[in-house]
Amino acid sequence: MELKVLKDIKTTPDPYYEYSDELRLSGLPIVFDNGAWSCRVGWASCDKPNLIFKNLIAKPRKERGKKDGETQVGNDITNIEAVRFQLKTQFDKNVVTHYDIQEQIFDYVFSHLSINTEGCVNHPIVLTEPFLNPNYSRSLMSELLFECYQVPHLCYGIDSLFSYQYNGWEGQSSVIISCGYQCTHIIPVINGCIDASKAKRIDLGGFSVTHHLHKLLQLKYPAHMNTITPSRSDEILWDYGFIATDYREQLKKWLDAEFYDANVVKLQLPYSVAAPTLTTEQQKDRRKELAKKLVEMNAKKREERLVDDERHLNELLELREIVQLTPSDHSHGREAFKSMGINNIAALNKSINQLQAKIEKTRAKILAYNNGEEVVEEPKPKVAKEITVPESEAEKKSWLSELRKKRAFIVDRKNARKQRRQDLAKRRTAAAQERMRLISELARKEKRDDDFGMRDEDWDVYKVINKDAGDTDSEEEQEKLIELEEVLRQHDPEFVALNQEQELSPKEANQLHIGVERMAGPECLFQPSMLGSVQAGVSETLNFVLNSYPPHIAQSLASNIFVTGSLCQMPGFVERLNKDLLENRPFQSHFSVSLAENPELDAWSGARQFALSENFLDFAISQADYQEKGGEFFRVHPCSNKFEPYPLVISLDEPIVTNTGGGEGEDTVILM
């Protein structure tokens, strides 16, 4: 299979759209598909969203003394890996919880649509929200849109239902499978109405799949831990990932070398070639050059020293003259002595002699150097130990096997020590427990008939309880090992062959071989146990939902299974569902799975269709509604959640004391 290269696509910043007067006065709805992965926004008049961006912001960390950096939003982030640790999302799972970030996203969107009306966004908004969005989150979202942007109307709907409706499914009984970024929903629809009580949500989605593949690759190639970035894993997933129709069967195929070779994806990671190692000739040249420089430096230093010494000598000679001319106890002479740090005449003479000898030596050296006599001493190559290689074939063979045995012995010892260290590092291992037993025995108090130490062997117990078992990896041993390997490499062709694979060219060393991972990554959707989750997978949950209905309803549901959400575009997704349904549904019963026309954008298109419908405003909340009925209020329509107002029992001003009457008249329950 040919070598593949990573594309590493960079995002391009979104354009700013024109906001014409016509548009300003039109009151045209803005359609917002606010997904946990990407956000799609557009005017209801356009048939494709104007803006599609990752629903993220990158907020630089506040640093003291530094100005706050610019916050980047959505497609402004051209290189997502550079700001990986500063990324923030407004989502907690599939629900919006951080409204500061949501506000920044709205700012980004409205400014890119070039809205310039003062203090308000004068367009109705259609916004998607998660299935069973908590009232609390909705009220905060309404607060943001009505108070900060003063939108005239607002309408909420569920993304998967918009997609469902857009694909022309209405008034039927069916099951919607919606694969999101954080969650996968399985929602039964009975005669056009969602049956929320039987719906299920699996906490797995596009994120889990990418994460799974990312970790698999990182662990397989620990050396490339940092090169395998989440966005690259995402690219690999979408370019090469697939969902196996029969995972276990397919796994067995991968065991076959031919199948592996035919299906493995070899991916070249970017790498930089290290500077080529110098040839021996070049190395010699370089060394010579260095030596020459050193010699020159030495010569210069020598000359300086010579000048210095001569000056000193002159001083000393002068001093001697002074001493000889003046009487010994003369203060002048003594002072001169003191200033030179010399005590008496003998020391003076001695140092003069020394200095003279030194100067002469230096002079001789300089002379020699100038004549070019000085030769740089080449460091002698290390004398390799004389190895006598036996002449005859048979002898050589036995000699080699002997060497191999020696090497194996050292390697084994090393491994055993390593193993022991590892064992002792953990508490539960047999070795560690044996050690603890010995220690506690030694520390036991009752020592009535204690004859410990009578025999020399008694002391060996301390060797056993020592963590290093009394012997460690010695340098000597390491040297011996290297020496043996060197000899073997020279004389044993087998040894060379065995160890050759370690040396890979940088090109090969930076290749990823993606085999089983191609299907193991996405498989976690169907087998969440791969990620340590106890939840049932997509197929099993689907089956669970179907089985919670009486057979005839389940049958009509199974005949209309609708799949939407970007993740279901993964190759093999529908085939896999078909295969699992065939296994789980009653024998020879009918079922059918259909994919949304455009799983990624149909939710937006459906929302747009809804926004353009005649009675759209009947389903929208107006400013007045918001003021009057509170934040969590919204109008129910075929694509929305069911409105569950907070029960009226609760009052936030004062606790209601209810008497739970009957037998225990004293008991009161306080509801806050």
């Binding site: 203090g119 990620l531 939840q535």
Partner: protein, 137 residues
Amino acid sequence: MSQTNQVQDDSNQTTIEDKPVPRFIFKNPDYEQRKLSRRSTSSNLPTKQWKSLKQILSYEKNIPWPEDTVHYSSVVAPPTFKPSLKYSDISRFECNYTEPQTKLHYYDVEEYRLIRRLPSDIVNGYLSLRGALNPLA
């Protein structure tokens, strides 16, 4: 009342013009002001803490809903009823063996040898990926 408001608005505009960030004109200045004042009263404290989903859900749970209400937390998928298959951590093949020390699954002898040489961070990586890492063991 309205006059004073206008005056305030005017002064706001002039100050905005001084700064180079007259950005989002479509935002309600009152809302912005409110947000800022909320922040300035407790400048040392972090800005408004948003409830996490977990907090929201536990808050919703404590509300006496009518009996048949369906909530976010009531549609969690059921636990699986199928026994989970064992896959080798190294090669991903279906396997039967577990290395007793690291608790890694392995497929054959070669993988076993590899496991013995794996550094502990890789071992822990594999274990935590499938949620089997128990740091106390």
